[in-house]
């Protein structure tokens, strides 16, 4: 167990590699109840979220999910979040645990003048992620109706408990995230495990998201980085006028100083694993590093000079004094054969 943002969480149950491969090949279940929820509802809910989130909420249908960033005025990334549109004027945003209080305060601070109700819902939701190619079939046996399509959500009863079922995740696999009453979460966990979901911990969550090329706020992105250098320009719709939009638009322009950096995925060419903070020759730093169970190699994410960010570019990383060769890889690093 390790402490994380005030939560006691298992790093692994029976081993990171076994849990990782269970999610890639079958199905795993993660307790991600540390994630926070902020609810925004009311006539101006859309207008407020257009200011607070980088994506264009007009493109988010009822029952849909959208990834977006919360930026400050300088374009720094305060958090990356998924927002679910539960009804026309009713949204639920899932925050990262370490940022939840700041996000909530940011929402409340900016809500004045908008006809909305902003509420902290973190204490009311446990959250379980069921991920992997067999997760759909496994859940179908426990659910009272069809599961939502990818990037959608709906109310369902699963293992006897009514809950919000969201077809989203952080592993690069098909799957769902369940938001449910904490009082019933233990029984639902047991039912999922009984149906064949492999318990998986924080360790596998990290190796899976690294293979999938998904950044982790606090490691790979934070308020010192803007969405463009983080490779998240696709999640930004500056025309909505969100907070930070002008800075993001400016960051899209070519940088005459040539000092711009880009967040890339890399794979170590031989043995060894680069870790967070390892320096890259010629400039740059590793922000996440770990072992890829699928590739059986060290992989990671790093900021490198923009002119050395193309896939195939060779890097040399100082790993505890040893020069390790690495190669920039396209995201995701691991892609399932079709």
């Amino acid at each position: 167990m390790m402490g994380f943002a005030g939560w006691e969480m298992p790093v692994w149950y029976d081993g990171v590699v076994a849990e990782h491969m269970a999610v890639r090949r079958a199905a795993g279940v993660f307790d991600v109840s540390h994630m926070g929820q902020v609810e925004v509802r009311g006539p101006d809910a859309m207008a407020l979220l257009q200011r607070l989130l980088s994506g264009d909420l007009r493109r988010l249908p009822e029952g849909g999910a959208q990834y977006g960033l919360i930026c400050d005025e300088r374009g720094g990334i305060l958090d990356d979040v998924l927002t679910y549109r539960l009804a026309e004027r009713h949204f639920l945003t899932v925050t990262n645990a370490a940022n939840h209080e700041r996000d909530l305060g940011w929402f409340l601070d900016h809500a004045s003048g908008f006809d909305v109700d902003v509420r902290d819902r973190r204490e009311e939701f446990a959250m379980l992620a069921v991920q992997g190619p067999e997760s759909g079939a496994l859940l179908a046996r426990l659910a009272d109706g069809p599961l939502p399509p990818r990037n959608h959500c709906c109310q369902r009863t699963i293992a006897g408990l009514a809950m919000l079922v969201c077809a989203t995740g952080y592993t690069g696999e098909a799957g769902v995230e369940l938001m449910l009453d904490p009082a019933g979460a233990g029984a639902v966990w047991d039912a999922l495990v009984g149906a064949g979901a492999h318990p998986a911990g924080l360790g596998a969550r990290d190796t899976l998201r690294l293979e999938a090329g998904l950044p982790l706020h606090g490691n790979d992105i934070d308020e010192r980085r803007n969405p463009i250098e983080a490779g998240l320009g696709w999640a930004c719709a500056e025309q909505t006028g969100f907070i930070g939009a002008e800075a993001v638009a400016a960051a899209r322009e070519p940088d005459p100083s040539a000092r711009a950096e880009r967040l890339v995925c890399f794979e170590i060419a031989g043995r060894g694993i680069a870790r967070q903070g390892d320096r890259i020759e010629g400039g740059g730093v590793v922000t996440s590093g770990g072992f890829s169970p699928c590739l059986e190699r060290g992989i990671g994410m790093a900021y490198v000079p923009a002119d050395r960010s193309a896939p195939g570019t060779e890097l040399v990383i100082d790993v505890r004094g040893a020069a390790r060769r690495a190669v920039v890889r396209a995201k995701p690093i691991y892609r399932k054969e079709q």
Partner: protein, 132 residues
């Protein structure tokens, strides 16, 4: 290796290393890490053994073990010079988890000061140091 275990025929360093000294050849010792150490590390994915001839100093790091979770120093339980390394670990580092006292041995060392062994723990004292 599912169950914790600390064989009685080994000497233990409090930093979770073991040394095996064959009474027939008391000038050499085999080193490895304990069940407790491999359990704390989690799945070992890389082990680059030190080169033959490397000097090992008691209480100082002499090599590294890379697990899924982290890279960790391995502390020399005794001083000496590496005379053999477990090359099989390059292809099967998981032996350090599965058989830490057998196939998961790390190096064999010619001891420079065999009297250092007096400061190591026996199995009962090491177990006690773990609070179990």
């Amino acid at each position: 290796m599912e169950q914790a275990g600390y064989p009685d025929d080994l000497l233990y360093h409090p930093d979770h290393d073991w040394a095996r000294i064959d009474p027939a050849n008391p000038d050499e010792a085999t080193f490895g890490i304990t069940w407790y150490a491999q359990d704390a590390l989690g799945e070992v994915v890389f082990f680059d053994p030190p080169k033959l001839g490397t000097r090992v100093t008691k209480d100082e790091p002499y090599t590294e073990i890379e697990s899924v979770k982290a890279v960790s120093d391995v502390i020399g339980p005794l001083s000496g010079e590496v005379v053999a390394v477990n090359d099989a670990l390059a292809d099967s580092p998981e032996a350090i988890n599965e058989d830490p006292y057998g196939a998961g041995w790390l190096v064999r060392v010619r001891l420079s000061d065999p009297s250092e062994r007096e400061s190591l723990l026996d199995a009962a004292a090491y177990r006690a140091s773990l609070g179990s």
